[in-house]
């Protein structure tokens, strides 16, 4: 079964990690969604110029931050692109960028909807 677009359990973990502060979590979500397009742009720029290191860094950050916010499919794509960049296979990275961009759009919608509905920690704070 493919990974879901959004794993809400990760958001609950994140809420607890930041001390059950929903306003702060909302700020973090805003930052993640605001940074996403820039990261994808860095990927494309790195691919255009053949800068494997820049591609790897962007893929790594996309993987890491997406996992933090429960964007599991996007995190998996980031992991695949990072691994491909590690071996110098920029073509393999390029073949996944458009999928990553589409996935990021889906994550944006789901994340905003989930945040809008409220995320409740295991202690009951939301």
């Amino acid at each position: 079964m493919p990974d879901p677009t959004l794993d809400t359990a990760a958001l609950v973990d994140l809420l607890e990690t930041v001390g059950d502060d929903p306003e702060f979590l909302a700020e973090l979500i805003d930052t993640y969604l605001a940074d996403g397009p820039g990261l994808l742009a860095e990927l494309r720029a790195g691919l255009s110029s053949g800068d494997g290191a820049a591609v790897r860094r962007a893929a790594h950050t996309l993987k890491s931050t997406s996992a933090t916010f429960g964007a599991t499919r996007l995190a998996a794509l980031g992991r695949e692109m990072e691994a491909a960049a590690d071996t110098g296979d920029l073509a393999a990275v390029a073949s996944r960028v458009e999928t990553a961009e589409t996935e990021f759009a889906a994550v944006t919608i789901e994340l905003r909807a989930t945040a809008g509905a409220g995320i409740t920690s295991r202690s009951g704070a939301s």
């Binding site: 930041v18 502060d21 973090l28 930052t31 950050t61 996992a67 933090t68 992991r79």
Partner: protein, 245 residues
């Protein structure tokens, strides 16, 4: 595991990660300092201007310019920072990176995405380890001072003030320092008495020598004869018309 509080340096080029870790650590009662790259981290660690040192470093591995490996290497190569606990931040699937960092001297690793309970456990353990190491280093430094004091006593250059701090300890080392100070004081007092006795002895010897010199002169026939003739000689001096015979 204690609930010790500390000053934690978070090194990560991703602002989101710094924000998350910073909030989590402050929520757990720690003071947080942030650095966006390895160079900034090393600058913060070297700086002692405010006298507040860092207790634990949380270090991301993947960073541009100077990555986590290089930063960790430089921390461990610096004698002043060698014992500082470094917890590397890493994705769970980066086993090789984690092993490499631990072989380079990292104390532990923190998996991403972050979990509050694991963060608390890893940081607390490192804080406890640092506190123990600080106590050990302080103990060794005070043993060195006691050893240096012993050499100073032999050279006659011991100053009791050098053992201040050591002698106020309540453990066996403090007791040893107090005993040492007492013995050093007794030795000094004995030496002072000895010097005073030698001084008195010298005075006596000088007095006896002088007396002997005087008697060498006054106990001769010549001096006795001179003493007998002294009144007549005085009369001659006073009245040159007196017959000198």
């Amino acid at each position: 595991m204690s609930d010790a509080r500390g000053r934690i340096l978070v090194v990560d080029d991703t602002a989101l990660n710094r924000a998350i870790l910073g909030r989590a650590l402050r929520g757990q009662g720690h003071e947080v300092v942030e650095a966006a790259d390895g160079r900034a981290a090393l600058a913060i660690l070297s700086e002692a201007a405010d006298g507040r040192s860092i207790d634990v470093v949380l270090l991301d591995i993947e960073m541009p310019e100077m990555d986590g490996y290089e930063t960790l290497h430089r921390i461990k190569a610096d004698e002043r920072l060698h014992d500082l606990p470094v917890i590397v931040i890493s994705a769970v699937d980066a086993l090789e990176s984690i092993v490499r960092c631990i072989e380079m001297g990292a104390a532990d690793y923190l998996p991403k995405p972050f979990n509050a309970a694991i963060l608390h456990a890893r940081v607390s353990t490192s804080l406890d380890a640092k506190r123990l190491r600080d106590l050990e280093l302080e103990y060794l430094e005070q043993v060195d001072r006691l050893t240096a004091a012993a050499s100073a006593v032999e050279e006659g250059a011991f100053e009791p003030a050098t053992l201040e701090g050591v002698s106020s300890r309540e453990d066996a080392l403090g007791q040893l320092a107090r005993t040492f100070q007492r013995m050093a004081d007794e030795v000094r007092a004995r030496e002072d008495r000895l010097r005073a006795e030698v001084r008195e002895l010298r005075i006596e010897i000088d007095t006896v020598r002088q007396a002997r010199k005087v008697s060498e002169i006054t106990e001769t026939d010549f001096f006795r004869d001179l003493r007998e003739r002294a009144p007549h000689l005085r009369r001659i001096v006073d009245d040159p018309s007196v017959d000198p015979r």
